[in-house]
Amino acid sequence: MSGNGTGIGASVKRKEDARFLTGRGRYTDDINLPGQLYGYILRSGMAHAKIGAVHTDAARAAPGVHAVFTGKDMEGVGGIPTGWLIHSKDGSPMVEPGHPALAIDKVRYVGDCVAIVVAETAEQARSAANLIDVEREELQAVASIEAAEADGAPLVFDEAPGNVCYDWEVGDRAATDAAFDAADHVVSIDVVNNRLIPNAIEPRAAIANYDPATGDYTLYTTSQNPHLVRLLLGAFVLGLPEHKLRIVAPDVGGGFGSKIPHYAEEAILTWTAGQLGRPVKWTCERLDAFKSDTHGRDHISTAKLALDADGHFLGLHVTTKANLGAYLSTFATCVPTYLYGILFAGPYTTPAVYCEVKSFFTNTVPVDALRGAGRPEATYLLERLVDKAAVELGMDRVEIRRKNFIREFPYQTPVALQYDHGDYDATLDLALKAADWAGFEGRRAEAAARGKRRGIGISTFIEACGIAPSAVVGSLGARAGLYESGSVRVHPTGSVSVFTGTHSHGQGHETTFAQIVSDMLGVDFDAVDVVHGDSAKIPFGMGTYGSRSLAVGGTAIYLAVEKVIEKGKKIAAHLLEASAEDIEFENGSFTVAGTDRSKTLGEVALTAYVPHNYPEGLEPGLEETAFYDPLNFTFPAGTHIAEVEVDPETGEVELVAVTGADDVGRIINPMIVDGQLHGGLAHGIGQALLEECVYQDDGQLETGSYMNYTMPRAADLPSFNINHNTTLCTHNPLGAKGVGEVGSIGVPPAVINAVIDALRPLGVNDMSMPATSQRVWQAIQRANG
């Protein structure tokens, strides 16, 4: 790896920017097909109701309307599947109710799809939808975990008594109980992880087409994983073979997890296009996005930590209740289990850990992955608890962490994961220095003189990313493999097309992957283009989530390049009349070792496609594909420090500084990596200080627009102080760990710990997210008694 101006390690300016900056991006809603019609999805305004007849005659007769379809029309079509089967403590499988794309006998959340109206224009479709008359009998709704588990609560699904989907556990309960019996101190905490609405700035959209001449379906959709959509939509919902169903996810305007799931609208659109033999386009309005994009988080937990007299952690016991919403979205069931419970060792040597999670159905939007998915919830709980332990034991917050760090690797945690490598002291030291932790008391005093309460908070954390060996996830209930494919096509004149099964919706894969390939092959950065997002072009892929694209998808590309080089050596050896073992490849040239006789990659490529003088028995062409199945999770880790000033008169929290010291493994493009960290931090700060999805008891979404759901804006955030200490992942050849979720995982507890630190002198010892001025002010008033 040469690390040259455009190679691995260089902050190369992005290939994708030219089109995005000039308005030439091609997002789903920018696509129009000849003869297209427009679909409007009529959604339930009630959270829970039986539905009877749906009267559509008036809508069908409205101007421009071509068709109206309801759940009854789609009854023969398969339901929307879920991707992960969880087993409860007693070995029983989770309750897995059906999810019809269009509601049939019941609606279960405000936003549930009831009918599609198809018309000449979007406006006609929407107006006609107002004419649909749905016979409904409203039922009492359960809009929260508390309501779902109450005695005699109404049931979202008759087959799920108590509204429980599963009651899962991980870790050794007996060993954990024993640790508590032996403990000198027990510290406990109750936390809520606030429900969030993802809000990618591009609303979801789809346009489906059916060609009656070939029987081919094409669906353009805002997806992070087009092949996964093809698998679920084709095999489970519509019963279409893969070669008749093409999924294109073109430029996608952010995902953050909310564009992973296969959504009902994708099935409805595709099926409707088949019925009508015309393209049908649908673009979600933002107000509908609030009530139909999957939401994130929404946990209630209680936990306790056992410590010895010196502050060593002996045991951790976590009990969590998770809200899954009204239906099981694609990865919904694994987020509060295998992406959550297994993270509770954190960076600490706690020898006994036990976590139990009960997940509930409620009359709310389905909950699924959101930036971090499970790991922010775990990290928030753990890092709040560790801080509380330090305070209760009278220990320094940094020292209690340092005392318990894992320092020997590989490290087998008591909750399934085996960490390959890391250096938690290094990121801690780096962050403390960068944030001037030592000088904080001076700043606190200076703020106090201005009438402000200043606080500092820390979080030391680990992530589990790049999920994971397929055989392992399969044994845990995953219904898909989690490998990735990469293809590298060297063209006859030496330029290169790279095909990846990951999907870029902001992450800059077109640049990062081109850097890897151009560096390895010694070809110009500009001579390498990366293709993604089209099931007709890419062999296969699992898409982008869980910070997997570089560690898993990048590795597949790396392995494909290695294959290309191996084949190139055989061709070069033939041309140079040498043996392939004697050929070395460097900087784009195949050289006979110890000589100056060489052939360029371009010459070898041309020979591969014009094989007049060619090794016997070798296939022409220079194109290789590799599938890479990861050997383990990757474990990015780091320390985040937040500093706040609270105005005790108003409760207003100003975030004055955020410092990160992160170990994300090998960095290909530092500029892009820092950008990912910034975005994740903003998301995590949003959760800590601003964002909260609120449902009323009757299941109406109270925070259903940007007017009352507080998104982080530029003025809410400081600039970030980002630092790196890199250790390499030991089990992929790039040494990559992942970076997309770091900020949203690490920073929320640092912010809340800082707020509590600021307010502790006023008697405030607890704070929930988001720490809005109102909540902070009330806490101060309560503490004042």
Binding site: F20, L21, T22, G23, R286, M707
Partner: protein, 157 residues
């Protein structure tokens, strides 16, 4: 139905619209200028910002008929041929964009700020961008880009 005529990116464009047709729909649907995006329906996100007679305007909140006779610039009209506008170049240089969806509105908004304030402080940039949401970048690099772009523009576009 009314006919509107406006200068869009330096060319005279006309179309027949309904009275309630939004400027953004006229640009996207009638003129095929899909660089201007729609991210919300409550005038909160700023993905739709264009210039009307030199000032930034949320095109999801203005009617096409209101822009009759006006001079409209969209993101497609900012660059000078193959040369990016200094603000576009600054966004590229400082990685002020990720998914690119908020970007056209951000850039158009930033150019308007730079026309009013040739050397905005970080605080002034953050306050100015009050009406532009970005979920990807955490604004950190957008702020740097806007400051650099404003300086590069040297007090005018």
């Amino acid at each position: 139905m009314p006919t509107v005529t406006m200068t869009v990116n330096g060319m005279e464009r006309s179309g027949t619209v309904e009275g309630r047709t939004l400027l953004v729909d006229f640009l996207r649907e009638h003129l095929g200028l899909t660089g201007t995006h729609v991210g919300c329906d409550t005038s909160q996100c700023g993905a739709c910002v264009v210039h009307v007679n030199g000032s930034s305007v949320k095109s999801c909140t203005s009617l096409a008929v209101q822009a009759d006779g006006a001079d409209v610039t969209t993101i497609e009209g900012l660059a000078n041929g193959a040369d990016l506008h200094p603000m576009q170049e600054a966004f590229r240089e400082h990685h002020g964009l990720q998914c690119g969806f908020c970007t056209p509105g951000m850039v158009m908004s930033a150019v308007d700020l730079a026309n009013r304030n040739a050397d905005p402080s970080e605080h002034e940039v953050r306050e100015w961008l009050e009406g532009n949401l970005c979920r990807c970048t955490g604004y950190h690099n957008i702020v740097k880009a806007v400051q650099a772009g404003a300086r590069a523009m040297g007090g005018g576009s």
